[in-house]
Symmetry: C2
Subunit: 558 residues, 2 copies
């Protein structure tokens, strides 16, 4: 955990190497690489959404550098479930090699295929379901049902000559799931009896005490809010949360209301889910939103995107009266969703906007309209006790989550030295039931910005942060090449700094004087003259305004 | 609540005008102006801290425009308590007129004076305490003890010929406060019997059901965490939270530990609080932090700033190993503080950093180490029922808080039409027991950035947001004045856009061609030529990169 780069040793035959290349130290871009006998298996390939200190970035990908020269060795990519943080980077991997096989459940692959279609990629896929066993080169894969906030999630047991690994993907252990599909603890128990050599376990809620409440506990709350709503009801949730939407459809039907889906991803995902039988649409409930104006206000529910306050999503646009459906007094808005850290201000802006328009806003802070999709500490203890794994590698989470998960492992009897607190790029070798850290790769963030991938660097983001905080001052001077004499300028322009460029009249004579002095000292190099300008302006602005905008000097020879 | 500007009528003699100019629709910059018979009274004068969409801004002030031409009419500024969101803008008001009298409790004025000293202003002050009655021109002020997360807070009743107004300031109703100083419900009851014409009530926690727990419920938790801590303990909280620090001092003393204060504001505020008798320092507990290395690890507690993840405060610097005290395995860090929306990522970064260093981090998500300073819904119901106010103006909060507070008023029998949902700049007139909205002023945000006040505009912030998200591309062309012929350039520089300026080789011929075409069409105006450059580069970058950086063209005639 030192962050120090350690070159791993060459991999011996019969040893399994595990490299988490994303998802450790962050909530997102989950991706783990397994290698044995010259072949690679990948589990998950997700994206990470940027934080406020990564301005302008659209997505963050795992750093593919450990595998990008070895694409032909990849036997397949197992996708545990259809969330963006597990499948979102697949298009970028398949851009490197389009025929890497994708393995996953029916819903997961349907969601990936819809995404790849937008990138004009048609993948090779292998659909699996719980109980299936598939062999891919040196890897035998066994798929196990797990319960999560999207249907059809799978854990995967990986058998190799080096031992048995179990990777949970994201999961929880709802004991009364809507679709009856439990996390298969009997299968976990059988694996435990067989002997799990390495357990890769979801850490997202490891620092949350107790147990995640039942998804179905939300149903009666939705039902009662909708029953009491005097006019329209608008519900927002994640667009892949099939069971949440199911409960909204059921509550609407029970109250004699129709439901219109709003938002591109909501319509796309629910169409897929209904077609494949994961969403059961009550008769005559769904209606196209363009026909919703014919329905009386107390007979309609809108099911929309935008529960995280995303500025371009339906709910934000409604709050800004920038959508065909304009909320007003008597309308009820339900945010049946989590509040992801970092989104609070955006979400509260939407809540305030809707409240101001007269809507009654129901959200997780004032009603039980959301439960998490991840196992809390209590559930994880069950897992550890049923599996009794020899070695544990907590995955999926910030360091505090991984650390809390490791503590649960130790509490249930896993020896501390067999509990591996790793980070992205940590190289773990498994042999003879012993898992040990043998190296640390240097991995970076790969930023997607517009149509570019990996062009934006951390240096660019640092520049953006300075520009965003302070703005810039650009100074253009044209000097005579022979004499260094200033012939045009200084022309000074600033953005994000102050209203009136007249403030720069004070510094122009200082620049001219500094350039004249440099010229008289024989300085002719335009880079050196630029530095003179930078120092002069930087000192002036810091003294006069106590600010540090970016200073962009340009001395042109004419 | 339409945001529409409505010119208020001229104020008639004997009518009281109330204008909240800050704190409505935001948590911060609380300030309300009262006017009757040509004289003005101000209650509170606070700052607002910027959100992520106000980059680079240091502070946001109330817009003083309704009073800045009438400074001589101000009879005084009542400061209800010593928090920044109630006193932070005082230096900026006193810069306009230094001898406006400040009225407040002993602790409040001591904190204001310390702040004003940094601005080299020595104010005129009037120290008051609960029970005191003071007459300032047409206003009779009666001060009432209230309980809050800083000692010595006061509510103020304002009697005028137009009626009786009660303003709570920030408050809660802890029934077993550490200092025994209760919110004086007997005084509230007497005012209720006299008849409260207008009630300005703290809304911060109006949407939180139930009751705020006792401050003293934290003591045993601190005690138990400190008792079990194997090595050093570091506690972070707000630097003005005297009672929280008191409990830390007591818990440290009970466990035989010394306490070192860390952070400039912590040291300054606690010195003031101890000098004035608000903080009781157990014998021989405090120690200078420079001498703390002589104390064994299990005998020391550091009391520090930085509980909101502020990058320059002690706790963040410790997490980055950029402080003399470097946390490590066995150390315990307690964040005895709230988590203000918007600060989550910063706080979690600090928690992760400390966890990574091996420290055990205790915070409000995993232990009861914080209670709020504001009355929750249950407490507010008591207030309304004791006061039975004729009219209510919820203050201090985002719109959802004001709206929740208004609902509580209505629930206790205040007629809906007498419950005023206002925003900053709403003009409310009170006469004969009737309060009505009579106007809406246009007020803005006044940004403090570096040493400038009000220079940065919303347009500058929009530029900063674009620069911060996308960076900029600057293009400099020198053209011959007579012919429009390009003689130097295009020189292209970009920051925050992409690593390599070589990408611009693709667009340079396009720029030259566009300028040549413009010149051949007789265009000579450098502004028009700049626009040509802007369009050419903008179109290119949008098509090639699907991005929208700021384009900064400059065409210079030589």
């Amino acid at each position: 955990m030192t962050g120090q780069i350690i070159e791993p040793p060459a991999l011996e035959a019969g040893t399994l190497r595990v490299i988490p290349i994303g998802g450790l130290g962050e909530v997102g871009r989950n991706m783990t690489v397994f290698e044995i006998d010259g072949k690679l298996l990948v589990i998950d390939c997700g994206v990470l959404f940027p934080e406020e200190n990564q301005p302008g970035v659209d997505l963050i990908l795992p750093d593919f550098s450990p595998i990008q020269d070895r694409l032909d060795d990849i036997v397949g990519v197992v996708l545990t479930h259809g969330h963006e943080d597990h499948i979102g980077a697949v298009p970028y991997l398949l851009r490197l090699k389009a025929d890497i096989p994708l393995i996953g459940s029916g819903l997961t692959l349907a969601l990936v295929e819809a995404k790849l279609k937008e990138h004009r990629i048609k993948p090779y896929t292998l659909t699996v379901r719980e109980g299936d066993v598939e062999r891919l080169g040196p890897f035998e894969l066994q798929f196990i049902a797990v319960n999560h906030s999207i249907p059809d999630a799978l854990a995967v047991a990986v058998r190799t000559s080096a031992g048995l690994v179990l990777a949970t993907g994201d999961f929880k252990m709802d004991q009364l799931p809507l679709d009856g599909r439990l996390t298969d603890l009997r299968a976990f128990a059988r694996l435990g009896e067989e002997g799990v050599d390495l357990f890769l376990c979801d850490s997202t809620n490891a620092d949350v005490p107790g147990f995640t409440p039942l998804e179905r506990s939300i149903g009666p709350v939705l039902d009662s809010v909708i029953a009491k709503a005097p006019r329209r009801v608008i519900v927002a949730s994640f667009s892949s949360h099939v069971h949440r939407v199911q409960q909204v459809l059921d509550a609407a039907a029970a109250n004699g209301r129709r439901v219109a889906l709003l938002g591109r991803s909501m319509v796309r995902n629910m169409t897929i889910a209904a077609d494949l039988g994961y969403l059961t649409v009550p008769d005559d409930v769904l209606i196209d939103y363009r026909k919703a104006h014919d329905i009386p206000d107390d007979k309609i529910v809108f099911m929309s995107t935008g529960s995280q306050g995303e500025p371009m999503a339906v709910l934000s646009r409604m709050a800004n009266l920038d959508h065909a459906i304009e909320p007003g007094p008597g309308d009820t808005v339900i945010l049946a969703s989590s509040l992801i850290p970092g989104n609070e201000n955006a979400v509260y802006r939407v809540i305030d906007g809707l409240t101001k328009l007269g809507a009654n806003v129901v959200h997780k802070a004032n009603a039980k309209v959301h439960v998490s999709g991840h196992a809390a500490a209590g559930e994880l203890l069950y897992c550890y006790n049923i599996l009794k794994p020899k070695n544990v590698l907590p995955v999926h989470g910030e360091f505090r989550h991984l650390s809390a998960n490791a503590k649960l492992a130790v509490d249930t009897g896993v020896p501390r030295e067999n509990t591996i607190l790793a980070e992205d790029g940590t190289v773990v070798d498994l042999r003879d039931g012993v898992a040990r850290v043998v190296g640390q790769l240097e991995l970076g963030y790969v930023y997607v910005d517009g149509s570019t991938v990996g062009e934006i660097t951390d240096a660019d983001l640092k520049d953006r942060r300075i520009l965003g905080e302070e703005g810039f001052i650009s100074i253009i001077c044209v000097v005579e090449a022979q004499t260094g004499r200033l012939v045009v300028g200084p022309e000074i322009h600033a953005r994000g700094f102050a209203e009136d460029d007249a403030v720069f009249d004070a510094v122009k004579p200082k620049i001219a004087a500094a350039l004249a002095e440099a010229a008289s000292n024989g300085v002719r190099d335009s880079h050196a003259l630029s530095q003179t300008v930078r120092r002069t302006v930087g000192r002036w602005v810091n003294t006069s305004y106590r600010r540090r905008p970016m200073i962009v000097p340009l001395v042109i020879e004419a």
